[in-house]
């Protein structure tokens, strides 16, 4: 009831200065539009760049680091208990790369409710033989189904199908960089040599392109059983267990737990990829800084129009106060004007921001290294809209605060005496 009167007075003053208030509101609209667009675009870009790495990276990786055992036999000897020993040139054991008991570990991991999926892997350093030249490379033995499910492996295979890898014995999917160097086509046979000198023929069933040139120049994928065959190891031989979680943030804690439980090394994604997060957060920071700067400029627009209004409406303010409106009422009137400009401008800004980012999201964006991306990436995170709305209200409130306080302090006697 009481606020209705205040609001009516505010809107009457607004209407009397419609053009200027529209310009002020447009300032807010513009800045919120830009804020939303910028953040959505940056967010999309961040996701794209992060996913380039993160999609293909397990949340937790269990493996055995090659290192000499920290407990040497002499330490266990009763005869030398309490004595010091020094051993030079300790060498690691030969079988250390293998994760022992891998089948049981995989079973246990699959039963863990935090775990979305488990993909075992063997990594084998090899040479690709091209005539007289050997190219160094790495072959990963993978579980094709798990790899498709957890790391969207199929998205990166540009020629051929992942299923062929599973169905054709002794087959390989080659990195596009390697394939170019070797001048091979899908269907050709190639020869590889392991570090132990074993030669092995493989049939090329596809190419893949990860978006990372360095990786595409050395990497090849075969099935787990193929690597076991190449190395002459039993079917339980696994050097890496990759784990994907439902909640990535649990990775550091769970990595520690699994490492202890399964007596292997365990590393989490946060540790291996900290540099990517830093890049994203700096890009995000810049977007926020630009957005907030725009908003502050819009805030000055509101500040100006309010000051002008107050200057023009001195008489009205004086008579309102003389006829019983308190300083607080006058303050509320001008804060209402400021917030109306902010809310209307801000709401339009949110709509236009959504529209503009949707338009940008339609612009074609083709890059050879990202086969799955066809248009500019946009992240429609509701968080951006919430932050935009909150910021627009806060800035307009602050912009309205000082002029409103000035208006509330106007002494009607000064004005009336001045006439």
């Amino acid at each position: 009831m009481k606020f209705k009167l205040i609001a009516e007075i505010s809107f009457a003053l607004l209407r009397a200065r419609l053009k200027q208030t529209m310009v002020a509101a447009f300032g807010v609209t513009f800045s919120i539009t830009m804020f939303i667009t910028l953040l959505s675009f940056m967010g999309g870009l961040n996701d794209l760049l992060d996913n380039l790495i993160l999609n293909r990276t397990p949340h937790i990786r269990l493996f055995n680091e090659i290192s000499a055992s920290s407990i040497q036999p002499i330490a266990k000897s009763k005869a030398y208990a309490g004595a010091y020993n020094f051993i030079s040139h300790v060498k690691p054991k030969n079988d250390l790369l293998e994760i022992r008991n891998s089948e049981a570990i995989i079973k246990a991991l699959k039963a863990d409710p935090n775990v979305r999926g488990v993909a075992p892997k063997n990594t084998v350093p090899v040479f690709y033989n091209v005539g007289a030249i050997n190219l160094t490379g790495v072959i990963d033995g993978i579980d094709v189904d798990a790899e498709n499910k957890l790391f969207t492996f199929q998205d990166y295979v540009v020629n051929g199908k992942t299923m062929d890898l599973k169905n054709t014995p002794n087959s390989i999917i080659l990195g596009i960089g390697v394939a170019k160097k070797m001048l091979v086509q899908v269907g050709d046979n190639i020869q590889i040599t392991t570090s132990k000198g074993t030669q092995f023929p493989l049939k090329v069933v596809g190419f893949f392109q990860s978006g990372m040139d360095e990786m595409d120049k050395i990497q090849g994928y075969v099935t787990l059983s193929t690597t076991q065959k190449i190395l002459g190891k039993p079917a339980s031989y696994v050097t890496d267990i990759q784990v994907k979680l439902y909640d990535m943030t649990l990775a550091p804690a769970l990595a520690k737990k699994y490492g202890k439980l399964f007596e292997t090394d365990a590393v989490d994604i946060q540790t291996t990829n900290s540099q990517f997060k830093t890049g994203s957060s700096i890009r995000t920071l810049i977007s926020y800084a630009v957005g907030i700067t725009l908003l502050i400029v819009a805030g000055f627009g509101i500040y100006n129009i309010l000051n002008m209004m107050i200057y023009e409406k001195m008489d009205s303010i004086a008579i309102l106060k003389a006829t019983g409106f308190s300083g607080k009422d006058v303050n509320t009137i001008f804060i209402t004007i400021a917030l109306t400009i902010g809310l209307v401008g801000g709401a339009l800004g949110l709509v236009f921001g959504f529209g503009l980012s949707a338009v940008i999201g339609q612009i074609p964006f083709n890059t050879a290294s990202l086969p799955t991306v066809k248009t500019y990436p946009i992240n429609y995170n509701p968080k951006f809209y919430l932050i935009g709305a909150v910021f627009s209200v806060i800035t307009t409130y602050l912009a309205g605060y000082f002029p409103s306080r000035k208006a509330s302090k106007i002494d009607p006697v000064d004005i009336i005496r001045g006439k």
């Binding site: 009167l5 009205s316 004086a318 106060k321 003389a322 300083g327 006697v413 009336i416 005496r417 006439k419």
Partner: protein
């Protein structure tokens, strides 16, 4: 004894900018309910200053002010605003109508602020006040569409809307020609006689003053004559 609507007890005021000047010295007087009082005096003798104090807009004074028997001294700003809203009606030399609102709405504003009545009732009252002042036809026009005299009458209607204890005017006819002054004077007279409205009007117009119930004469910040028949 008649009820005193307003009573000033030893009110003094000085301005300190740039030099300390005492503008009002020990002003004491009272106005009874239904009285029509005028204040006259030479330019600069402190009439407006006194009126601003009596109207509670200026709180920077010494002495005591009673409105309706209640002390206004040391009240908070928000409380004084409520007192002005409810008990005092103002008419100034300038009309101070809000151009964003039509005349009817201008009259209604203090009534809506008081909120003792529903907006519909306030509108009805405002219409009646405009009728008393003979300008009900201009109700839906805007202030800038009226003549000076008409604007002043709308301002008087606005002063009347909350049926105040007292109406105060600072040269309300100062901007008007003879004919319009007479119209406004007759309205005041009618309010006093028919509605027993108390009025305190500052004026330069001695003819105007002579026709009121009582004339207070000021000189150099002091009251020279209370205009009472006995004194």
């Amino acid at each position: 004894m008649e009820k005193k609507v307003i009573e000033a007890i030893g009110i003094s005021k000085s301005f300190h900018d740039p030099l300390t000047v005492k503008v009002l010295t020990d002003i004491s007087f009272s106005i009874n309910a239904g009285e029509f009082v005028s204040v006259v005096g030479k330019s600069g003798c402190g009439k407006s200053t006194l009126l601003y104090i009596l109207s509670t807009m200026d709180t920077n004074y010494e002495g005591e002010l009673l409105l309706d028997g209640i002390s206004m001294t040391n009240k908070k700003d928000a409380e004084l605003a409520m007192v002005r809203n409810e008990k005092i009606g103002f008419v100034f030399q300038f009309h101070y109508l809000l151009n964003e609102f039509n005349n009817l709405q201008n009259v209604m504003l203090p009534g809506l602020k008081l909120a003792n009545l529903s907006p519909k009732e306030v509108e009805h009252h405002a219409y009646q006040k405009l009728k008393i002042l003979g300008i009900e036809k201009e109700a839906l026009k805007y202030p800038n569409q009226l003549s000076g005299g008409q604007k002043q009458r709308v301002a008087i209607a606005r002063a009347l809307i909350n049926e105040p204890l007292i109406i105060m005017g600072d040269e309300p006819t100062g901007n008007l020609d003879k004919k319009n002054s007479d119209v406004v004077f007759n309205i005041f007279k009618e309010l006093a006689e028919e509605y027993h409205q108390s009025l305190l009007i500052v004026t330069h117009d001695l003819d105007f003053a002579a026709k009121t119930h009582r004339t207070i004469t000021m000189e150099d910040g002091k009251i020279m004559s209370h205009g009472l028949s006995s004194s």
